[in-house]
């Protein structure tokens, strides 16, 4: 009896929740008192598979809008930044996007992962909502019907890979061509994204200088890359360079296992999501990782908080107001901050152009496409957009791990410098 009753109560509670969800409270938007507000949406991964880098990135975006609002907003408009965690679940991202579009009626969205960004790229064209993703997939460079409302705020993965090849060409010592192995997860939208472009670039522009070896295919979730590496080693010699495209966790596993196989002369390199403070896990007993990863070179698209740059001043000012220091944030925070500041720049232009009217996604799109050499004051490479060019920049820096600390080893450079 009691059990029945309890289940009845519990289940009706859950049902009630469902009904609440269906009805929703339409009129609950924060309106503010007379001041103008522009709504920007956010899609975060704070608890999902890429939450280790997604959480600080989201915090950086939120922090920027909080900071700019405390300074009076963008040209007098307050930015209402409405974001939700979608936990790297593409179908959940679809729901969150619908809520941002229809419930909150946002003018633009700051997104996150490759899979969900690509899954939304057709819909945002239909809905006319410009989209900045943290995924720098080459696919998003299209300006027409494929991904016409996506903009790349940093060098695309393919451009990063091409830049690494150029660096290898300049720095390779010895007479034989540099043997470069590509390490990635075949079939994974993020990991596989730049591979074909890197291969094409090597054969078209660097034939005889760079030689791409057979691929090393390791899945992102494979916790024991050693077996794959051993099998690969049976048929191939250890490469001179490897280009890895994973996030922190898998990158360090691969490098550790390759080092344990005695690939001492191999220069391990990775694209931007391999670089950053978290590549070496925190903790007192991380010396084995410091040793294994020593000399690793990663693409650095955004500045480290410890660098002395003019762009860091507002960040430090914001952190001071929260009682924090640069020690509490990392490079992904800066990346989120910089991305949000590009959006704010576009909002500012759109406000000027619409003369204080209602700002729509198309206005922001037009504004983004007028951005020319927007100076991020060292936080990242300057960005420019045009109606026929949605990639903000192709410039990157390279950073190298030395005794567990990242050291910047190049200035900003890209293949367009050639």
């Amino acid at each position: 009896m009691f059990k029945k009753k309890l289940s009845f109560v519990l289940v009706s509670l859950v049902l009630l929740l469902g009904i609440l969800a269906a009805c929703g409270d339409e009129g609950a938007e924060p309106t503010g008192d007379g001041e103008k507000v522009i709504k920007i949406g956010g899609l975060f991964d704070e608890t999902g598979a890429t939450g280790d880098v997604g959480a600080p990135y989201a915090e950086g975006e939120r922090a920027y809008f909080e900071y700019i609002n405390s300074k009076g907003g963008v040209n007098g408009y307050k930015v209402d930044f409405i974001g939700e965690d979608y936990a790297y679940d593409t179908s959940r991202a679809q729901q969150v996007y619908q809520s941002l579009r229809d419930r909150h009626e946002v003018a633009a969205v700051l997104g996150w992962g490759t899979a969900d960004t690509e899954a939304l790229r057709k819909q945002i064209i239909n809905d006319k909502i410009p989209f900045f993703s943290a995924s720098y997939s080459e696919n998003l460079k299209d300006t027409g019907s494929e991904s016409g409302y996506n903009y790349l705020t940093a060098a695309s993965y393919s451009d990063q890979g091409r830049a690494i090849l150029e660096w290898i060409e300049e720095n390779h010592k010895g007479d034989s061509p540099a043997k470069v192995a590509l390490v990635y997860h075949k079939g994974h939208p993020f990991s596989e994204s730049p591979i074909q472009d890197i291969k094409d670039y090597a054969t078209e522009n660097l034939a005889g200088v760079v030689e791409i070896t057979p691929d090393i295919l390791i899945e992102l979730g494979d916790t024991n890359p050693l077996t794959t590496l051993q099998t690969w080693e049976q048929n191939n010699e250890a490469p001179d360079y490897t280009i890895i495209n994973y996030t922190w966790g898998q990158t360090r596993n691969v490098v550790r296992d390759a080092t344990s196989l005695g690939w001492d002369d191999t220069q391990f390199m990775g694209l931007n999501w391999t670089a950053g403070e978290g590549l070496i896990p925190a903790g007192a007993d991380n010396q084995q990782w410091v040793d294994a990863l020593d000399g690793f070179i990663g693409v650095v698209t955004h500045a480290f908080p410890t660098e002395d740059l003019p762009g860091m001043e507002p960040i430090i000012e914001y952190l001071d107001s929260k009682g924090k220091t640069v020690e509490d944030i990392n490079q992904k925070f800066v990346q989120g901050w910089a991305t949000a500041s590009i959006m704010a720049e576009a909002i500012g232009i759109a406000i000027d152009q619409t003369d204080g009217g209602d700002i729509k996604g198309t206005d922001i799109k037009a504004a983004i496409e007028t951005i020319d050499n927007f100076d991020l004051q060292g936080l990242a490479a300057d960005v420019s957009f045009a109606p026929d060019d949605h990639s903000g920049t192709d410039k990157i820096r390279l950073g190298q791990l030395k005794d567990g600390e990242w050291e910047i080893i190049t200035e900003y450079f890209g293949i367009s410098d050639k």
Binding site: S7, A22, D25, Q98, D102, A119, K122
Partner: protein
């Protein structure tokens, strides 16, 4: 005249035809009609956001009914729904985008091809039962997604494929309302089909296979063909749902169809009620709206606790698990059982309110 406040509370069936009727009495028929009409009227008074959610619900309903035919009615566990959705979505993408076929042809083709592949993966079900079959269908999930991820020339590999919304003549289903109507019509047709399926020989054979396959075989039911048929019918419907979802999001990538999706669909029929068409509908709507409802709740809480957002950001997974466990423990019959209990309570009131 009949007292309008008294409900019929007995079984008045006097013939087999009555026993097999789709609607038990005219009242049920009227009620169903009213519900369907109300569903069609939603766009008149609801916001775009609600319609978007309703579209996702309708697609989930189609998929959940498909899975329930296999798991709930035939008793064959499948954890490969995600992959079968992918087959439907990709088939439609390949036919419409690569070969330029019309959506109206590729939709049934997507169902057919998914049915063939589903039937193929259903073959081991003759020898495998329960957990073993679950693992075999898990293999289907992994194999299909691996093939899709690696067969670049056809599926586009990791970057997926782009689709268009369907159109008839000059009218295309780009806005929310029209696509909602399309999905609703398919969902209603699926429901009618599934309800009728279990009035036929095939449907009753499925039930017999579920209840005890040895007994079913003794009664002359060919286990192999009916099990494979169940896989095929179920996959056909799941494939249709997959194609509708693909044309809704206008893109297909491997990541849309992970094992997580399979588990979500299993949760739908579990929470809704195994072996009930109405249960599948309730479960699909419930599981689709659960995260949305929790989002509202967290938003509401942030008014009182400013830090609620960061505290509760992983709340959703927690509640999802909790709901599943609570249902398994307290109401294995699912939402549909709760619904029936409530209905019976009012039917019998005030004579017998104790169960």
């Amino acid at each position: 005249m009949k007292n309008p406040f008294v409900m019929e509370s007995g079984n008045y069936k006097t013939s087999y035809t009555k026993d097999m009727a789709l609607y038990r009495n005219p009242r049920v028929k009227r009620r169903m009609l009213i519900i369907v009409i109300l569903l069609f009227l939603i766009p008149l008074f609801a916001s775009n956001y609600v319609i978007g959610l309703a579209t996702l619900c309708a697609i989930a309903v189609i998929g959940a009914i498909g899975l329930n035919i296999l798991t709930g009615f035939t008793g064959q566990i499948s954890v490969g729904v995600g992959a079968f959705l992918a087959v439907g979505g990709y088939t439609s993408a390949i036919f419409t985008t690569t070969y330029g076929l019309s959506f109206w042809i590729s939709l049934p083709l997507a169902g057919l091809i998914t049915a063939i592949i589903g039937g193929l993966f259903g073959i081991p079900s003759l020898r495998l039962k329960g957990l073993y079959l679950a693992i075999a269908t898990l293999a289907a999930q992994v194999i299909i997604l691996w093939v899709i991820g690696n067969w670049e020339s056809v599926t586009g590999g990791g970057s997926g494929m782009v689709l268009e919304r369907p159109s008839i003549g000059g009218f295309s289903f780009y806005d929310q309302n029209s696509y909602y109507y399309l999905c609703l019509v398919v969902a209603v047709l699926t429901t009618i089909y599934a309800l009728n399926l279990f009035r036929t020989r095939t449907g009753r054979a499925f039930l017999a296979v579920r209840d005890r396959d040895v007994a079913a075989q003794i009664m002359g039911i060919n286990l192999f063909s009916y099990k494979v048929m169940s896989f095929a019918i179920s996959s056909f419907i799941v494939g249709i749902a997959g194609a509708l979802l693909a044309h809704y999001t206008m893109i297909v990538t491997v990541e849309l169809y992970s094992i997580q999706v399979s588990i979500q669909y299993l949760a739908m029929i579990l929470v809704g009620g195994l072996g009930s068409v109405f249960g599948a509908i309730l479960g699909a709507v419930f599981i689709t709206l659960l995260p949305v409802g929790l989002g509202y709740m967290v938003e509401y809480l942030t008014m009182f606790i400013p830090d609620a957002y960061s505290l509760l950001s992983s709340f959703r997974e927690f509640v999802f698990g909790l709901v599943l466990i609570l249902f398994l423990v307290f109401e294995p019959g699912g939402l549909v059982n709760i619904w029936n209990n409530i209905k019976n309570y009012f039917k019998l009131w005030p004579f017998s309110t104790k169960e």
